[in-house]
Amino acid sequence: MKNRRFLVIGLFVALLVAGVGSYYASSHPDGLEYVAHRTGFLDSAKEPVDTGSPFADYSTEGVDDARLSGGIAGVAGVLLTLGLGGGLFWVLRRRPPAEQQD
């Protein structure tokens, strides 16, 4: 499989998982939240700081349909992560010797 094809398929899978699959995820509290609740320290959690993001709690502001709201947030998150991570790694990468003469 060629590089580009591999990356495109990988990204497609990630978008599918975040954009569609996430709707079917368990809505039970995760391990830490559950333990915090059972042992009695869940109340010590503070409300998250409002950063002004429209995707708080993996839903999209102004979109009422739960499936669509979560799906858009998931896709946005994947693309943001890809952009930030991919950009960082592209900057950090070792260049071939010919390009290093700066």
Partner: protein, 228 residues
């Protein structure tokens, strides 16, 4: 396992922030050796994939759930230093844009999932790989073992941090037992997902798997493939 604001007191959060900053600082330098024109886009994809994977909570019984942490997965696929950066980017996006994991707890979350999860997972992977037969097929199994160990390890470190700087007065043993107990179960899910994903990548592009170096490259060329 995203720690919200408020679970840990300010001094502890500052301390984990310092640990996280130092870890990420070292990773930024060391990751260069793992990244080139071919692996850098792969690393971006791995970060995006971990973000997606973390959205899938799977039930683990009794009204609780777990989700992929992805530390071992990222470390095996793109190397531990790059893997630590992958998880850190995911946690940054989650806390900035998704209100998942507190902003003041970002250092704690990077320490738990980006450093402990990644390096314990990768260490266990390396150990397992040294014991298993030297072939490509051992890589997904070793990755699954590393993934399994990484989750209770992160839970243990959380329990230690909670004992030091938890804002609520709860017996340390109680938190530790519950955290490790549940995260052993969640670790099984982590192992299954990690094993399957690594197995899929090893099957299609073993040369892109950092943890398979030295084992890959002996794959016979497929029909129609051109040697560049």
């Amino acid at each position: 396992m995203h720690v919200p604001d408020g679970f840990l007191d300010a001094p502890t959060s500052v301390a984990t922030g310092v640990v996280a900053a130092a870890g990420v600082g070292v990773a930024l330098r060391k990751a260069r050796a793992e990244l080139d024109d071919r692996t850098a886009p792969m690393a971006g994809l791995v970060a995006a994939f971990v973000f997606a994977g973390q959205m899938i909570n799977f039930p683990v019984g009794a009204g609780t759930s777990g989700h992929l942490l992805g530390g071992a997965l990222a470390a095996v696929l793109v190397g531990p230093w790059t893997g630590a950066l992958c998880i850190s980017v995911v946690l940054l996006v989650q806390s900035l844009f998704m209100a998942d994991g507190g902003l003041t707890a970002l250092g704690t979350n990077i320490t738990l999932m980006g450093l402990v999860g990644v390096f314990v997972g990768y260490g266990a992977f390396r150990l397992a790989l040294a014991v298993l037969p030297r072939k490509l097929g051992s890589v997904p199994l070793a990755a699954a073992l590393g993934a399994f160990v990484s989750v209770p390890a992160a839970a243990t470190v959380f329990s230690v941090l909670f004992a030091i700087g938890g804002t609520a007065d709860i017996a340390t043993g109680k938190v530790f037992a519950a955290m490790v107990g549940w995260h052993l179960v969640i670790g099984l899910g982590e192992a299954v997902i990690t094993g399957l994903v690594v197995s899929a990548v090893v099957a299609s592009r073993p040369d892109l798997v950092h943890g398979a170096r030295g084992l890959a490259g002996r794959r016979p060329l497929l029909a129609g493939e051109v040697v560049a």
